[in-house]
């Protein structure tokens, strides 16, 4: 029923009178017209901005090409010119760029294309001028603050021309500046990273404007990625000195970025995580696992640095900044279990202190990381929050990986086999209903790993190699932690059993529990039970083959046959059978491929005919 009919109906039922009907219909028509015009305008506008984007890109590329062409032309005849000619020629591009800049400011004030191209041209001209002058006087740029001069001379373009691409140029130059290695690095203001820091701080007004206006939106998102990236890369690139201090700085930086990403300034209206928040969170989680792999953290030597290394100042500075952001965040927000994890910035503090005082902090650190990751996973499962569960899961996986380095070899194989099961058994409740009857791509990869573990375990030679005659006894701590991980995994499987059983009748879940269990049996038993694994694989192959044949699924049936064939091939190497028997087995397997396919195709045809 359209509006006219509806109003007519209302009039007939004596709800409204005729004049009201007319007024309402007129109003509806005028609004409708307005809406159509608005929609047209908007589509035109978006068309325009799309075209603009294309033109900007093309013109930027054009300026780059022309700039390089000019430089190349000069360079070609360079040696025949006298020193004064060379100097004048190298200043020429800057003259040109100044003219272009002035023209842009006076005549093309609001033209984005002119602003961007002028800024890029200015960058290129200044860079080529500096490079040529340094070359005339035989100075390698890397030892002479080439990038510092270049960046400082061009930075004002960001504000004078309101150019966005200039920001990217400047950020690249700041990164390059870190590679320079000038001779006199002793004073604070002469150190390259200090220069980069100062130059980066001049961009803060730009970022403040961008992050408050959130316009243009594409750059708003992009710089949420680029700012942490550039800052963290700079922290890594300027490494010299104890690794522990660099690690601490990196961790504090990422924690700060996470807090900043979820602050009022960047937060989205629906409270969904911003890009910077996600990057910060994942970075923090991964950097926490770095300490798991080194026995000697080296925090006790953190004060013994060379006198001109001022980077240690950043540790208290960044820490204070993080605490400030935290306090600000929680002064406006109520502290609940869901945002409690933001206190993660305090997590390494006691362990770093322990290490500083000479106490072995690694076991305590491992176990507390695990104990913290478990509730995060639990809460995130209830909230169906993927971006918290994956980093937490990653932490547990790395804990298991680092444990597998510590313990004697058969158990480490068991630990490795836990990692794929971990992935499958934990995040399944996040699966949506539509995936109920299919395996997603990542699950297929996990399954392949599990089959690979079983195949490796089915070689007698493997167990001979890994089982030492006199195994090192495991410490109580290691046994306890492994038991804790297994218990946690089983508990989680029980907790989400409904979802696990709903997915493909629970087959993958049962399989994921089965694989580590049988490998554990192999690890602890003194008898050689490698044939058990071949039998399990064969049984799985046959069961899947029968099931898929019933459903006439050709792909899965062939994969099951392939699995059986693979097990046979593996046994070909280590079973002591006569060659005749082996040959007959292979012929059987090969012909069964044809036979199974033939049967399935036939039954399919049969169904189709019916």
């Amino acid at each position: 029923m359209n509006l006219k009919d509806f109003l007519e109906d209302c009039r007939k039922e004596n709800i409204i009178d005729q004049s009201t009907v007319d007024r309402m219909y007129d109003h509806f028509l005028s609004r409708d017209k307005e809406r159509v015009i608005n929609a047209q305008n908007r589509s035109q506008l978006s068309q325009n901005s799309k075209n603009n984007g294309l033109i900007i890109t093309v013109s930027i590329i054009g300026v780059l090409l022309i700039g390089f062409g000019i430089i190349y032309l000069f360079a070609h005849n360079w040696d025949h010119l006298s020193r004064s000619t060379k100097t004048v020629l190298s200043l020429l591009p800057v003259f040109l760029s100044v003219l272009v800049n002035v023209f842009t400011v006076i005549k093309r004030k609001d033209n984005v294309i002119w602003q961007e191209t002028a800024a890029i041209f200015s960058f290129l001209a200044t860079g080529s001028m500096l490079a040529l002058i340094l070359q005339v006087y035989q100075l390698p740029g890397i030892e002479n603050y080439f990038f510092t001069y270049w960046c400082i001379l061009c930075l004002p373009m960001v504000y004078l021309l309101k150019s966005h691409s200039a920001v990217f140029c400047a950020m690249i130059l700041m990164l390059l500046n870190l590679t320079s290695n000038p001779m006199d690095q002793s004073a604070l203001y002469k150190i390259p990273w200090f220069g980069s820091l100062i130059m980066f701080s001049t961009l803060i007004p730009y970022f403040k404007r961008l992050f408050t206006l959130r316009q243009p939106s594409s750059l708003f998102t992009m710089h949420q990625l680029f700012v942490p990236l550039v800052v963290c890369l700079s922290a890594i690139a300027s490494i010299s000195g104890p690794h522990s201090s660099i690690w601490l700085i990196l961790f504090l930086l990422l924690a700060n970025f996470h807090l900043f990403g979820s602050s009022v300034l960047l937060r989205r209206s629906d409270r969904s995580p911003t890009l910077m928040g996600i990057i910060g969170y994942i970075g923090v989680s991964l950097s926490l696992t770095y300490l798991l792999f080194s026995e000697n953290w080296g925090f006790e030597k953190i004060m013994e640095v060379e006198t001109h290394d001022y980077r240690l100042l950043f540790i208290p500075l960044l820490f204070g900044m993080g605490i400030f952001q935290l306090v600000r965040y929680f002064s406006k927000e109520k502290m609940t279990v869901h945002n409690l994890y933001k206190w993660i910035i305090l997590l390494p503090l006691p362990f770093v202190l322990m290490n500083y005082l000479g106490i072995n902090a690694l076991p305590a650190y491992k176990i507390s990381l695990f104990l913290i990751a478990c509730p995060v996973i639990h809460l995130a499962q209830n909230k169906k929050d993927e971006w918290q569960i994956y980093p937490a899961l990653g932490i547990i996986a790395v804990i298991i990986l680092s444990l597998s380095y510590d313990v004697s070899s058969p158990i480490s194989f068991f630990l490795l086999s836990l990692i794929p099961s971990l992935y499958y058994l934990v995040p399944i409740p996040l699966l949506q209903e539509k995936y109920k009857n299919a395996l997603s791509a990542d699950q297929v990869i996990i399954l392949c790993f599990q089959f690979l573990f079983l195949l490796i375990a089915s070689f007698g030679g493997f167990w001979m190699a890994v089982k030492p005659t006199e195994p090192d006894p495991m410490t109580n701590f290691q046994v306890g932690l492994i038991a804790l991980i297994c218990v946690g995994l089983i508990f989680n499987a029980i907790k989400v059993r409904k979802q696990l059983l709903a997915h493909l009748n629970g087959f993958p879940a049962i399989f994921s529990l089965l694989v580590p269990t049988v490998i554990l049996i192999g690890c602890v038993s003194s008898a050689n039970i490698e044939h058990l694994y071949s039998i399990i694989l064969l049984i799985i192959g046959v069961v899947v083959l029968i099931l898929s044949a019933k459903k006439s699924n050709l792909t899965v049936a062939n994969l099951a046959l392939g699995l059986i064939g693979l097990v046979m091939v593996c046994r070909f190497f280590d079973l002591k059978m006569s060659l005749t028997v082996k040959g007959i087995l292979f012929i059987l397997i090969g012909s069964s491929f044809f036979f199974a396919n033939y049967l399935i195709l036939k039954s399919r045809k049969h169904e189709n005919n019916n």
Partner: protein, 184 residues
């Protein structure tokens, strides 16, 4: 209109800085070329596979050995000033000190100070046209009996490399160069 004027003033300031900054740089270097004292440093034959990158010749200047009377005065990574004297085999270090003198060169001590230590010199690259660089590469690496020198002007800690010569002939212009009497 007001913002435009502001922008223009800003632009003018930046442009002036952009154009004058290199002039300061150039005038400082010209000063060295004008007033600096020339020293000739002996170049070792170069490894022909390693030293030619792009449009410059990598110089393999012989590291100079220097005897220190009081090595405890210096620390590793110190900035020092070296005075040179011309010898029959190229320039050698006369003395190292923390004080700048008229014809001394600014250096960084990369090794640990000892009574007898080797000093790395900052003459590493000589920028040239590609074909010429290849040609010079052959000349420098071909015959170790040739006397190859890099000509460096030194003034107030700063330096400019002006030429490379082989057996008294400039490799850049091909003309004979004036050699100090000791080297002839």
């Amino acid at each position: 209109m007001k913002t435009t004027t502001k922008l223009l003033i800003g632009l003018a300031v930046v442009s002036i800085i952009q154009l004058t900054f290199p002039l300061f740089f150039i005038s400082a270097k010209e000063q060295v070329i004008e007033d600096g004292k020339e020293y000739l440093f002996r170049i070792q034959p170069v490894d022909p596979y390693d030293f030619f990158q792009g449009r410059y010749v990598s110089l393999n200047v012989q590291p100079l050995s220097c005897s220190l009377d009081n090595p405890d005065d210096f620390k590793r990574y110190d900035i020092v000033y070296a005075e040179f004297e011309q010898d029959s085999l190229g320039a050698t270090i006369k003395q190292l000190s923390h004080e700048k003198t008229e014809h001394s060169l600014k250096l960084k001590l990369y090794g640990k100070p000892n009574k007898k230590m080797r000093i790395r010199l900052p003459f590493k690259r000589f920028f040239l046209e590609e074909n010429k660089a290849k040609h010079i590469e052959l000349k420098l690496s071909g015959n170790s009996k040739h006397r190859n020198y890099v000509h460096v002007k030194i003034l107030d800690g700063d330096f400019v490399m002006t030429d490379i010569s082989s057996n008294g002939k400039s490799l850049i212009t091909g003309k004979p160069v004036q050699l100090p009497t000791l080297l002839q």
